[in-house]
Symmetry: C2
Subunit: 310 residues, 2 copies
């Protein structure tokens, strides 16, 4: 089944203890789409500027990703630069230039309208809501957000949350959104805001999913969360896009399955961790551009081995 993702396609300049990379093709939609492309068909809605050439787009196309929804417009592409020199777990933003993203109005190509799976990557919730409205046939919708939208665009974000089957955010965002320091209490509050499930990304410690009864009626609900591990790595080269790659592996696996059961959801959490673990092994999207499908399955087996009693 096809996934439609809307989000940023951008250039990133990144410095980490392992080195420096200039103007890598990045952005949430890019990391998400590449990760998801190992599981299912992916279509992208985004906007880029004149600096985004056919060669850059080829990075997505080579993985079979449908880029007809990437709008090319006058001006420069979204640019972000950040440093992980102080802390590998949290980027220090050095520069953000929204550029063409500032006046972005998402257009859905007719060929995209039958997408059954919709992922609203981290962008202005007004745009997320707009795309959701334009995709009435999407049967499963997940999304991401960040501190800036939680703090300063709460009402717009609240509208988006109501329509989500799953919200994927990190610990800090969870506590900020719920105004609650305890993870379980925060998760309960967030599920009451609308999302039928919440996936909390813990970085190097894995991820935890909380389920509402509305997602899997008759099952345990919020009382039994699910924790998926992350892979301890001897070197994290570049954490940029790890969370988006997690989301791509997670949602890509779900879209590849006939039905969303709790067993599929849990396995998807593992595939999320798998794709996140590949993402951080090289700068930018380098590692996700040319994985062997066997590598994905081997790492999935490793994730199982490192967390299962037998």
């Amino acid at each position: 089944m096809s996934i439609l993702v809307v989000g940023s396609v951008a250039f990133d300049t990144i410095e980490t203890p392992s080195g420096r990379a200039e103007r890598c093709v990045g952005g949430a939609a890019t990391h998400f789409a590449l990760a998801a492309s190992y599981f299912t068909d992916v279509r992208v809605i985004a906007v880029v500027g004149e600096d985004f050439t056919a060669e850059h787009e080829e990075i997505l196309k080579r993985r079979g990703i449908d880029t007809r929804g990437i709008e090319h417009t006058k001006g420069k592409s979204f640019f972000w630069s950040g440093s992980y020199l102080k802390d590998l777990n949290e980027a220090q933003t050095l520069n953000t230039e929204l550029n063409v993203f500032q006046s972005f109005s998402p257009k859905i190509p007719a060929e995209y309208e039958d997408s059954e799976f919709l992922f609203l990557a981290n962008i202005d919730p007004v745009l997320q809501a707009d795309v959701r409205r334009k995709m009435p046939r999407a049967k499963l919708v997940c999304g991401d957000t960040m501190n800036y939208w939680i703090n300063d665009h709460a009402e717009n974000l609240a509208r988006v949350l109501k329509g989500l089957d799953g919200l994927l955010i990190n610990d800090t965002e969870v506590k900020l959104l719920a105004k609650e320091g305890n993870l379980v209490a925060a998760a309960e509050k967030i599920l009451e805001m609308g999302p039928k499930s919440l996936v909390v990304k813990h970085g190097e410690y894995g991820a935890t999913a909380f389920f509402s009864d509305r997602l899997f009626p008759g099952e345990d609900g919020i009382s039994v969360p699910f924790r998926a591990p992350a892979l301890p790595l001897a070197e994290v080269v570049d954490p940029t896009g790890a969370g988006d790659s997690f989301a791509g592996g997670f949602f890509g696996y779900i879209a590849s399955q006939k039905e969303l059961t709790s067993a599929v959801f849990k396995k998807a959490m593992f595939y999320g961790g798998v794709m996140g673990s590949f993402a951080v092994e090289r700068f930018g999207t380098e590692r996700l551009q040319k994985l062997d499908p066997n590598e994905v399955e081997e790492r999935f087996a490793l994730f199982r081995k490192l967390s299962h009693l037998e």
Copy 2:
């Protein structure tokens, strides 16, 4: 099989967002012994003062713990007070009075000498080494330590590390001991210092074990660690002793088994998490004093459910 634990038996005054508890019976050996008592026989070596009455000792005795090695001496028991009002994940120490612990010289009752399992809880590494020397028949030795010994007593600690089958410490201590910020690289360095395995406690995110080839020859070694989850709890009443309770569940389960295999080690990590999760549900050792063995097995089943794909 019997475990001998040497460590502190103390009084703790604790404040957390859930309230305040005055002079609870605490200390690393107390939490450890209570947690381990659900799995095997436990013997304690410690020193207490005149303020530690028969009634206090009864807390251990009621769980069948052998307290003949608790020396009663003139003066006051070790006292600690701490606050978790700022951060539930890290105690702010308000007061530490070593009292009778200052001149402690461990004596091993003759009845303890056949203990096959030895746990060196967090005390002066000179005392840890002394007890190790006095217990030549111990066939499996694990231990704990803390920042203070790592920073200021490195040489003494190094001697203890050489003789350990397992070292159980938290993330901060691992990075400090290895002088290395990456967990995997730090674990490699620490295994080279002597311990045949390293269990890193991550608090609310569970724990990770790294194995050396010397512990399980012919198996994966350090290349495949093992991660056990922690239980997301809606209220953490008092985190004091969670790590010691983890160690008690972990080592207690190991001592209850015929042989230490990697399968037993992994299951022990789960039982460690189980006992840690009970410990934090009430102030001090209240929850660990009177668990039903069925509760332990039920929670083990919950830990499996929250981390296993099927």
